[in-house]
Point group: C2
Chain length 502, copies 2
């Protein structure tokens, strides 16, 4: 019998994947549940990750000419009524503000007072209000394009929540653009999907499949919904970003009109695109292992933790001076535009200290004891290796090679995730094999099946009903190829990506 390897996280991924996720988030101190049902407190280690995600994305948006703006938290009820007109049995889960005051009632209890004439909705998106603003801002072709983005909190009341993956309040960005012609709007839709792809693959080290949604999975009102889909370690898909080409539908709804160069009035062509803190959940489930979270260096809240080790008080001053000097040296280095962030952890808590940082997923841990110092070295642990696999490295080698080392770790994570996705993506042409692929594996969800689909909504619905498997996208790079629909057997000329999904 092999010796059981102890892991920092219980249960392991294999034992109970959903519980593993919860424990990993908790152990990393990234976020925790709040007293308000379905809302989270994002702690510094998690929020700094979000800052690194949002600031890098923001820079990429701005390079394409997008500017940020801010729209009100509240939406008048009447704005949603138009939408509701088109939807049978409309019911929308959202936070409704009905009063603007609290007063002291009986027994010192507080009671809502000052009822509003018209209730307000806490924005589930700012779409309607951005549309109205654009309609005021645009009158001539000279005012186009309008390229707007908003970073904000939004609320969608959720009954079953999981931190980062599905919360009643979450943080996101929503981009909205208006153009004078269809071609430019279509280009923008793809451009923003490509920005997401580049960011998610290069910075989050998550390989994705790019494609378009089927009509039934499209965003309401969209002519084309493009998305990127990533594979989690339980082999389910997670949509990591979407970009919508809305044609003139949204402009008609919001009355975004302009006079073209020939003095003719036309509706604008619009797009919208967004990613959210859900991305963090995807990153955790892509890379995390049984020792905790794994942070890709490009977005890691900190790159290196220095762990001074001294047994006697006499040693302390010297070790700390060496540690501080090394930290100062490292902080001069820039890694992909960001200064190297160094933590110094001198807590006297024994072995738990190193494990805390493993669980947080910091790329590098450098222990510094009297021997290391005498040797002008550090004792280095890498998060891409086993936690116990540490080696002595000369300090200068460490400093000079830091960026290359971080790039190497970043690439290791990406290649590992890519290999995992490739190993769990299979072409399936046989219906029984397809059903078997998704059936009866406890906690494991088959993977990505590339199978033919005739294009019929009914086949899509049938598979969803039977297996809870959906078409995640029609991949852009899926070649034209004759085949038979995995559901009905009718002719198809392209494989699509099926999977269970978050």
């Amino acid at each position: 019998m092999g010796k059981k390897v102890t892991t920092a996280i219980t249960p392991t991924r294999e034992e109970d994947y959903p519980m593993w996720y919860q424990e990993v988030v908790k152990a990393s101190e990234m976020a925790e549940k709040s007293p308000v049902r379905g809302c989270m407190v994002i702690r510094p280690w998690g929020y700094t990750l979000w800052e690194n995600i949002s600031s890098q994305l923001d820079e990429m948006f701005k390079e394409t000419g997008v500017k940020n703006a801010y729209f009100p938290l509240f939406i008048p009820l009447s704005y949603l009524e138009k939408e509701a007109e088109h939807v049978e049995g409309f019911a929308k889960e959202c936070a409704v503000v009905t009063h603007h005051k609290l007063e002291q009632g009986e027994n010192k209890k507080l009671v809502p007072a000052g009822e509003l004439a018209e209730p307000l909705i806490v924005r589930p998106t700012s779409e309607t209000i951005i549309g109205e603003s654009m309609s005021k801002w645009v009158s001539s072709y000279r005012d186009l394009p309008v390229l707007i983005n908003q970073w904000a909190n939004v609320v969608r009341w959720e009954m079953r929540t999981r931190i980062f993956l599905r919360t009643s309040e979450f943080l996101w960005q929503e981009g909205h653009t208006a153009h004078a012609n269809e071609e430019e709007a279509r280009e923008r839709t793809l451009m923003m999907l490509n920005v997401y792809t580049k960011f998610v693959e290069e910075c989050l080290a998550m390989p994705v499949v790019r494609g378009s949604k089927t009509p039934s999975e499209r965003f309401p009102g969209a002519v084309d919904t493009m998305c990127i889909e990533a594979m989690m370690q339980d082999k389910k898909a997670l949509q990591a970003g979407t970009s919508h080409f809305l044609g003139q539908n949204f402009a008609k709804g919001s009355d975004i009109k302009f006079q073209n160069a020939d003095k003719q009035e036309q509706f604008a062509w619009t797009t919208s695109w967004g990613v959210s803190t859900r991305m963090i959940g995807g990153m955790i489930m892509t890379h995390g292992d049984d020792d905790g979270v794994i942070m890709p260096p490009r977005v890691a809240p900190s790159h290196v933790v220095l762990l001074p080790i001294y047994r006697k008080d006499e040693e302390r001053a010297e070790i700390m001076a060496y540690t501080q000097a090394l930290a100062a040296e490292l902080r001069q280095i820039r890694y992909h535009g960001r200064k190297i962030v160094v933590e110094i952890d001198d807590r006297d808590i024994g072995g738990a200290r190193g494990w805390d940082w493993v669980k947080k997923g910091i790329p590098l841990r450098a222990e510094i004891g009297p021997k290391d110092m005498a040797n002008d070295s550090v004792f280095l642990g890498r998060r891409d290796k086993s936690a116990r696999d540490k080696t002595g490295v000369k300090k200068d080698t460490f400093v000079d090679g830091l960026c290359d080392l971080l790039d190497e770790i970043q690439d290791t994570y990406f290649q590992r995730a890519k290999a995992f996705m490739a190993a769990n993506t299979v072409d399936i042409d046989d219906k029984k094999a397809f059903y078997d692929f998704y059936k009866s594996r406890k906690g494991i969800h088959g993977g990505f099946a590339m199978s033919h689909w005739c294009g019929n909504d009914a086949c899509e619905a049938k598979i969803k009903e039977d297996l809870s498997v959906t078409i995640r996208c029609i991949p852009f790079d899926s070649p034209q190829e004759k085949g038979e629909c995995i559901c009905c057997g009718k002719p198809s000329n392209k494989r699509v990506l099926f999977s269970k999904a978050y």
Copy 2:
């Protein structure tokens, strides 16, 4: 009779200051009213300013060891009940969420449904929930200090609103720190006030008076409330930032306890500090003139606009190439850590184009016509000079001297505001003179009176009632000096700062 000088903004500051403010904001396209009462839409020109403010402040916070986190938008009603217990006739203006769903009622009208068991409040601050989190995070002296900041939107229901200055929803940051001893917490309170002072004076070019609030003007629960006060051009004060030393009061209310090195349980010592989008209103009212907003270069959304001028289509290509090349060259330059931001405005709308940028307050406008190009020059307008005062400058001189020129403009704004504040700050020792200072000047509000105060709440209240004048602060640099209270004539040993205020 002198010729009336035409201004870009009507009315002028002198004619109607409050209306001038509204018109200036509108003309600059910084922000506008939203369909939701009391909320604003912050347009790109205003939001980019906020980004420049928040990112620079954020960097300064982080240099002092502060990390950002995020707390839920909603606060359970019960959290406010504790607070209400201590307040007679408690009535709080805030947005109350009572339902979590919308359903279609009669006539396709939407009605709130899914009533919550306990109403939720949209955060007016995150204080209570941050306190609860800290109480969970802190158990040992090793966990201290906790240095947390949050950038977020908050809501306080306002009946009379003015864009940036008082809105129901606004953007702000709130810092909260917990410490193991009083001294460290007091140091932190002053440290953050100094961060605000440095930022407001150096980046917003607004001179301020630093001091402590009187007991009656303190933040509820604070042992000491420090503030910075700026003077607007109507001579009223605007509080541009506050930093509170809360002693152990807040820790007792939120149960933030820790075990010290001697294993004794103690309450932590806490601070809180914040600034908001209100700061933008203060910046506008400090610098703006009758031609519109004036943006100090250190925070300006853009530094330079290039205005290509061509009469014939043949000229266009060459002029645009010259313009683009100049823009590329300028964008290589870093000004106080930020890349120079260049706008190119080639709209064919005549003289209105230049005026648009004057009204937006951009520091520099460079016209580029065929003659300028032939001369390898630009025709330069500076926002710190009259809009019609433009001069030819060699392109290389312009590029090489850009940072110095921006610094010069920045300093001009600061010195001008400082001189204005000095000219309108007077020592007053006579009660009648004091009352005259604040009476019967239509739209002008006297200024800052440095007068003696006995320390009695009643005197403070009397002056507030008679004149709507309050003690803005007890300035740190007000020397010990014998005198008589401006209200009751009793002995005083220090002058305090009186003023009308926003």
